[in-house]
Symmetry: C2
Subunit: 258 residues, 2 copies
């Protein structure tokens, strides 16, 4: 599922603009907590937000005060993956400069973005290399398109400018492929971090101050109890399929929201 927040930050006074987003995230946590604490916990639906792409304007020179405030308010609730939007307005040097600036500011303001996992030393070299590349690319600089064009005989998803065609899935043009790889490869980790870090944060705060919620007997989600490997495999496949659909939808939305 993709949840979009069009119009975020467009107001004159954006002081309250993240409230709706925080509320939405908390509602999903709350629902999960209720389901998990109820009788029929086998069939609970997981609508928690596992990943938040935070789109940074390519036109600024780093993070704006609103970006910093948003990330600080949300980094303990959700996995934030910073993304530079519509990066086809930046020449290569500008992309690199903006990425560097954004990372410096994230560090300076002690913002916790989603940490890509470290790789075990026994992983194969290709995987290590991929992970290194992904880590170096953050914040991913992407552009999107919902039209396919023909470029030198190939069908590509792209944007046709008078001076050339931007190919969304060309790694020379933008980081779209990297972002997709990250999302698919680390989907499970994103879910685990959500469950073990963000949800646990929510749960303990909630239990400390809120109304009593029936006791929880285990900390592992149902689908990881591993007595039925086939089922788990099927679930993962369904998840991947859903992710791909969501990505295609996201791709279409990114550029043409109206």
């Amino acid at each position: 599922t993709v949840v979009d927040t069009p119009g975020y930050g467009d107001a004159i006074d954006n002081t309250d603009s993240f409230r709706a987003i925080i509320q939405y995230i908390d509602e999903q946590f709350e629902r999960f907590l209720r389901d998990e604490s109820g009788l029929n916990r086998r069939n609970k639906v997981d609508n928690r937000i596992h990943c938040c792409f935070y789109f940074i304007s390519p036109l600024g020179h780093g993070l704006k005060p609103l970006d910093i405030e948003f990330m600080k308010q949300l980094h303990n609730k959700v996995n934030i993956v910073p993304v530079i939007a519509k990066a086809d307005v930046l020449v290569k040097k500008e992309v690199l400069r903006l990425k560097k600036k954004v990372m410096e500011e994230i560090e300076k303001h002690e913002i916790k973005i989603y940490p890509l996992p470290d790789c075990d030393s026994d992983e194969d070299e290709d995987y290590k290399d991929q992970l290194r590349q992904l880590k170096e690319s953050v914040p991913f600089a992407v552009c999107g398109s919902n039209t396919t064009l023909e470029v030198r005989g190939r069908k590509v998803r792209g944007r046709l400018y008078p001076w050339g065609v931007v190919e969304v899935e060309n790694p020379e043009h933008c980081d779209f492929i990297k972002l997709r790889t990250m999302l698919i490869t680390h989907m499970q980790d994103l879910q685990e971090v959500t469950h073990e870090v963000h949800y646990e944060n929510y749960r303990s705060e909630r239990l400390a101050k809120g109304a009593p919620v029936p006791k929880r007997t285990t900390s592992l989600p149902d689908h990881e109890k591993g007595d039925d490997k086939d089922r788990i495999l099927q679930e993962k496949e369904a998840e991947l399929r859903k992710m791909k659909e969501a990505l295609a939808k996201m791709q279409a939305q990114m550029q043409h929201k109206n």
Copy 2:
């Protein structure tokens, strides 16, 4: 002279963001009023703001609430020329759609932008055609660059992307040339409107409520008293030269503010 306002609209709460701009414009009017009312009025310097390029984000889908509010607060003080910034992020269809949307919103919210003058029926056809083209192009969609590149043997001011070169001075790529033509051709009209409409507004309000200011005996500015044609010509040439310098500077600043 070019006055830039970097960082405008970047704050979380932008409620007060035009105050500094309004104050600056009023200060220039005030100084002119003082000079004009003083003894040595021959040597007064005109630092009034004759034209305000209002840069609209190419990433939105029209005017933002801040844009509308800014223009409403300032349209009785200064000639507003709306411009779509960094328009090289938009494909042709998107440029046309955004221009249409912006003009519809300007009309709907009764915002008074600088009105390009109507042309007399006895003007030559080329001029009429140019004026028609300029009017159709508002808001001008521009992009800037401070680097020159070589494209098929020609030196051009442009931006080098992996998928092609955006040429700032190519009318197929953006409206920069049109914006420059507008500014140079209608510089005198911009000054006249400033003097006869915006400054008169300021002056009458100021006189109605403010401390008394010595009476003004004529409403024509000195340089239009026309007893010294050579001097006027020289002045106009100097003005044009200054405009061209300002334009080059603006061009450089537009894309690379840091």
